[in-house]
């Protein structure tokens, strides 16, 4: 008998590696400095955003240049929860996800009427409108922004235990907590995307990406699928945005809705790493961070290099660095392709 499977040896190895790496990552604060934890927090949150954008653009065909809308609204909802409702910042992160989801409904209603390039610009305009509206919200600092109150940041649940466990100060304990949450978020988001792509829904997504008409003709509801992907992506982006600003503890409309930080960087990470694969954003974020560290002292040269690198990749290796690696080695760490297994075909392999 034969069966359909996505399982490969490399895929199993990845799963085992995750079970080793995640506990190691959780224990890491015991042996590393606060600076490393902050760097890792940055890497993990950028990776989360990149995985989400990759799901949207690489699999869903939804090229949004307005994801900063959801980062910003998530961050502001978290601040509103803490400052106006008196919630604990960690609990208020969930509010960020909900707010992003709520914003995504009218956004999708509007943007899905637009095609291709119009969609990209439409999402950007909505992000700008959201930023300008939030800047009018005087209770949260208006255009200049505000900080999380001292009593809220010193009372985050779990920081006492972390202080005792690792023998660190309160601010460092907060970074460790944020890092753990970022680690959890990236594992859950990547895991969910991986699961999604291997499920019926993923098959439908791949079909839509390759040929919309053909997918419709075999019964895929394209509209519903795009709605689902867009809403899931928005909620996850909102959670990430809220978490990022729990760690910085300071917010302003410019920072929370920055198109450079939350969309340009993210797009570069996905493009350089390889769009349309789960491995791509992982490779991309490592390159991004390496470039950032190497060129940190050269100011805007770093961003220039990043922009030119993205152009070069698009011209000479449209599938990104992971595409090159995978084409040479045939390696798929997160296999989503369905293969026939258990069947010996004479003369084939």
């Amino acid at each position: 008998m034969y069966r359909l499977t996505t399982r490969t040896r490399a895929g199993t190895a990845t799963e085992i590696a995750v079970f080793v790496l995640v506990p190691a990552g959780l224990a890491l604060p015991a042996v590393t400095s606060r600076g490393v934890i902050q760097d890792l927090f940055f890497i993990l949150t950028m990776l989360t955003l990149a995985q989400i954008w990759n799901l949207l653009a690489g699999y869903g065909g939804l090229i949004s240049v307005g994801q900063q809308a959801f980062v910003g609204i998530g961050a502001y909802a978290m601040f509103a929860g803490v400052i106006l409702l008196g919630w604990n910042p960690v609990a208020a992160i969930l509010l960020g996800g909900l707010a992003a989801l709520a914003l995504a409904v009218p956004t999708a209603f509007f943007a899905f009427r637009l095609q291709g390039a119009y969609f990209a610009i439409g999402t950007w305009v909505i992000a700008e409108v959201t930023r300008l509206l939030i800047a009018q919200w005087k209770a949260l600092g208006g255009g200049t922004g505000t900080s999380l109150p001292r009593e809220a940041t010193s009372n985050i649940m779990g920081t006492d235990a972390i202080q005792a466990l690792f023998g660190v100060r309160e601010a460092a304990a907060r970074d460790i907590l944020a890092y753990w949450l970022a680690l959890a978020l990236v594992v859950v988001v990547t895991g969910c995307i991986y699961w999604l792509l291997r499920s019926r829904l993923g098959l439908a997504l791949a079909a839509v990406r390759d040929n919309v008409e053909a997918a419709q003709s075999v019964g895929v509801d394209v509209g519903r699928l795009k709605w689902a992907v867009f809403l899931i992506a928005a909620a996850a982006t909102g959670l990430t945005g809220a978490l990022i600003f729990v760690q910085t503890a300071r917010i302003s409309p410019e920072a929370a809705f920055a198109v450079t930080d939350w969309t340009a960087y993210v797009i570069f990470i996905v493009v350089i790493g390889g769009i349309g694969t789960i491995e791509g954003p992982i490779v991309g974020v490592l390159v991004f961070f390496a470039l950032r560290s190497a060129l940190a002292d050269y100011g805007s040269w770093y961003l220039m290099t990043l922009g030119l690198a993205a152009i070069a990749v698009m011209l000479f290796a449209p599938k990104g660095l992971w595409g090159l690696i995978s084409a040479r080695s045939g390696l798929h760490l997160f296999p989503v392709r369905r293969r026939l297994a258990g069947l010996k075909i004479e003369g084939g392999n």
Partner: protein
């Protein structure tokens, strides 16, 4: 008569946005290329004109006339060497390439000219105004508006009454069939981008003379320009002017109510038009 004043000032502002948008509209209409670096290229051209004025001591107009062939060549090279290689059915590659270009140009300018805001000195024109009784018009905004109309008349003349324009329209409608008729689409595209960059230089001249600019303002100009193009409809230059005027009037009206609402109301006008007419007001070509 404050509303009349608001309306007229808004229309004149719309002229500037139409100038920002005309080059974009041309390129978008012919090859469906979304150039996300358009705003940054306007700022780049403004620095080019400024250098002509400050380093060579030229008048802004002469500096702009000298900058135009330079920008044409840059646009031609950009299209021939980079953008032609990524144009295709999939809109993602050109979008990503121009996004990369946008960030590269912005930061290159930052490195070369610092974040200080600059202005192209326009001499006596800067504060000059015309009193028409009911409303007072600034000479500079009026000149911008007239230039926008002249640029659109010129582009339309080129588009509808020359052999090159026929090649533009043919390629816009069906690049493959145009190729069979002896038109080389890639060469046509390169010329089109070159011409768009000439219009960009004109837009940059007014941008730089009317207000301060710095390397970071490109993306906002790109959004206004894009809104004007999309409101107007694909491939219609007069539509682009109408779109620019709608954005300009909405912004001026918003600012009249509350200065903080200027940009916001402009965006909302765009969203409303998109809700009512997702393909714009006067679409010429089918997307």
């Amino acid at each position: 008569m404050i509303w009349l004043d608001t309306l007229v000032q808004g229309m004149l502002l719309g002229g500037l946005y139409a100038l920002f948008a005309a080059g974009l509209s041309l390129v978008f209409g012919i090859m469906r290329l979304v150039n996300l670096a358009h705003g940054d290229l306007i700022v780049f051209a403004a620095y080019l004109v400024l250098m002509g004025v400050t380093l060579l001591g030229l008048s802004p107009w002469v500096a702009a006339v000298i900058a135009m062939p330079v920008m044409f060549t840059l646009g031609w090279l950009l299209q021939a060497a980079v953008l032609n290689r990524v144009l295709g059915k999939d809109i993602l590659p050109p979008l990503l390439v121009t996004f990369g270009l946008s960030v590269a140009v912005q930061n290159g300018l930052l490195e070369a000219f610092s974040a200080d805001s600059r202005r192209i000195p326009a001499g006596a024109l800067e504060g000059a105004s015309l009193d028409l009784g009911l409303v007072t018009l600034g000479v500079m905004p009026l000149m911008t508006f007239v230039s926008a109309i002249l640029a659109i008349v010129a582009l339309n003349g080129l588009f509808y009454h020359t052999a090159l324009g026929r090649a533009f329209r043919a390629t816009s409608d069906d690049a493959v069939t145009a190729g069979l008729m002896g038109i080389e689409p890639k060469r046509v595209f390169a010329v089109a981008t070159g011409i768009a960059m000439v219009v960009v230089t004109l837009a940059a001249l007014y941008l730089g003379m009317r207000a301060n600019f710095d390397p970071s303002i490109g993306p906002a100009r790109l959004i206004y320009a894009f809104e004007a193009v999309i409101i107007g409809g694909l491939g219609s230059l007069w539509g682009t002017l109408a779109g620019g005027i709608i954005i300009g009037v909405a912004q001026t009206a918003g600012a009249a109510v509350n200065p903080e609402w200027q940009i916001l109301v402009g965006h909302i006008a765009f969203l409303v038009v998109m809700l009512l007419k997702p393909r714009g007001l006067f679409p010429r070509a089918v997307d």
